[in-house]
Symmetry: C2
Subunit: 352 residues, 2 copies
Amino acid sequence: MDSISFDNFTCPLPIPNGQQVTIGHGSGGTLTKNLINSVFYEHFHNPILDQGNDFAELSSESKRIITATDGHVVDPIFFPGGDIGKLAVAGTVNDISMSGAIPRYLTASFIIEEGFPMKDLVQIAHSMQACAQEAKVQIVAGDTKVVEKGKADKIFISTAGVGFFEKDLQIDGSRAENGDAVILSGTMGDHGIAVLAARNELGFTTTVLSDTAPMNNMIQSGINASPHIHVMRDPTRGGVATTLNEIAIQSQVNIILDETALPVNKQVQAACDILGFDPLYVANEGKVLFITPEKEAQLLLDALHAHPYGKKATVIGRVEKTDNRPMVLMRTRIGGTRIVDMLSGAMLPRIC
Amino acid sequence: MDSISFDNFTCPLPIPNGQQVTIGHGSGGTLTKNLINSVFYEHFHNPILDQGNDFAELSSESKRIITATDGHVVDPIFFPGGDIGKLAVAGTVNDISMSGAIPRYLTASFIIEEGFPMKDLVQIAHSMQACAQEAKVQIVAGDTKVVEKGKADKIFISTAGVGFFEKDLQIDGSRAENGDAVILSGTMGDHGIAVLAARNELGFTTTVLSDTAPMNNMIQSGINASPHIHVMRDPTRGGVATTLNEIAIQSQVNIILDETALPVNKQVQAACDILGFDPLYVANEGKVLFITPEKEAQLLLDALHAHPYGKKATVIGRVEKTDNRPMVLMRTRIGGTRIVDMLSGAMLPRIC
């Protein structure tokens, strides 16, 4: 099974089905089966996938089920700290996890440009499986389409997933309450800046890594420590500012941020300063916003700090009731208050 | 809510968010919210979607759950008898239905090329909702990405879904048995030829319509009539020949087709004759292959004939045991026997 070396991604041995993905690999016939067997089954194989049906049968683990989907078009497909495969698995794992459910199964739909290097596809499949293993999810069904050269940009991956509840939790964007603490699990903007750097759009070098990662294990630690979490959401496209605005609207509350508390990696801040970006709007792919009762905030922080992905978790603000239009406000470093709006227009296209 | 006329798809009233999809519509910020609200929520709205979370909470209706995914890159996106939206809903509805489960929930991931006409997106959303209504499924979560002009071909849609069982069925590709009847629910190749015609690749005119449709209602009638169906599968890419080869391999049996029994629309046959295609390999998007015990075959046929999508259902062959490599064989019109192989290479790219 291990005829191809994945450790250094150099794939010194013969690549399955030739060096490139061809239109025939999307025909649904023999070539498609070969591609699926040699790349996808080889990496993802598990008893459900191996049955070879167009559907996957799962066993319900709770009455309540969570599903979610995410499409991935990141450019470039390989970037410091991750690639489109890791992103595609982590993205849907994270969306499901934000409900408090435990993600268990994923499906993956691949849209591949003709001529795409087979070794890159192998590397992506390897990343997907590594991320799935870390998140303890199985990839149980998939679909592969190939379009003519120039009709897609390398590869797009859409994942969807299913998760179940171990506990009777009620966590969603509409439950933020007056007095709740707003906790961010780490620094802002690492993913966005890492992808920009990989595009050579910075004009200077940086060693920032994307934070792309599955958040479900850290979240389960958090839920165990703080069983009454009201809201969890991952601040991806649009960043922390946009995500908090969504929550403020869903919950009909104000959210008051403390500018001095916002965690930003120094290199990310430097890149943002030069580019004129505000890290509050830059995408994250391995961070969670928690909104939890004040009295559980320290317990949650302690649990997050004990997890590798939550070492820099910190309280960044509070929830306040409002009788007017819900807003996100910031107490600034110099003692003023300003409105933090939702991102409008395009900031960083194809960041995920 | 009905400020835009969907009946004739002319959309005489102002289009939401301008005339075209822009990069900003994929930013995750205000423009994305507006697009989702005015196009997708407007059409798909239901209590689960309307909660506005990145995940959707479902209620399990059976211990056994079925999931499936399908990516759609059909070219052109509008064709006689359907469009990419109808195809995206029917495709996943059908994959789930082939297990005997009842599809209930879908997610949809949209990858849209910058500049895509908003009115086409509205039309596609309308088709998706119409097909979802017919299939009695809800679209409960989605994701929207926009890529730069030239980096995708108009629009790609990946759907995934969840279904549940009302009955304790065991239907999958490995259960075909010696003596079983092979029933096809209607004519072969309509979808493939309709899409080719829409591409103006035929060199002559035809009025063939794609058969794109959700098969779940017909299938449930079939299951009620023939409760011991062994296999169901929809012969999409690669056609009936490829799908039967997959089943023969999964079940380790031979499948013997009767050439005189194969149902083909006259116009489809004419088009295939001119193009040098065999309808056995041309894609279908609204057909089902049933493999069922011989003694239930007539009951199943009667049930299919009573359904609008199954009027031309017919027995096309039998399952035979084999001790050798499993094969699909055809008893020809002139009394011979030939091997019917799986499709190899590319026949019709981007047919679905």
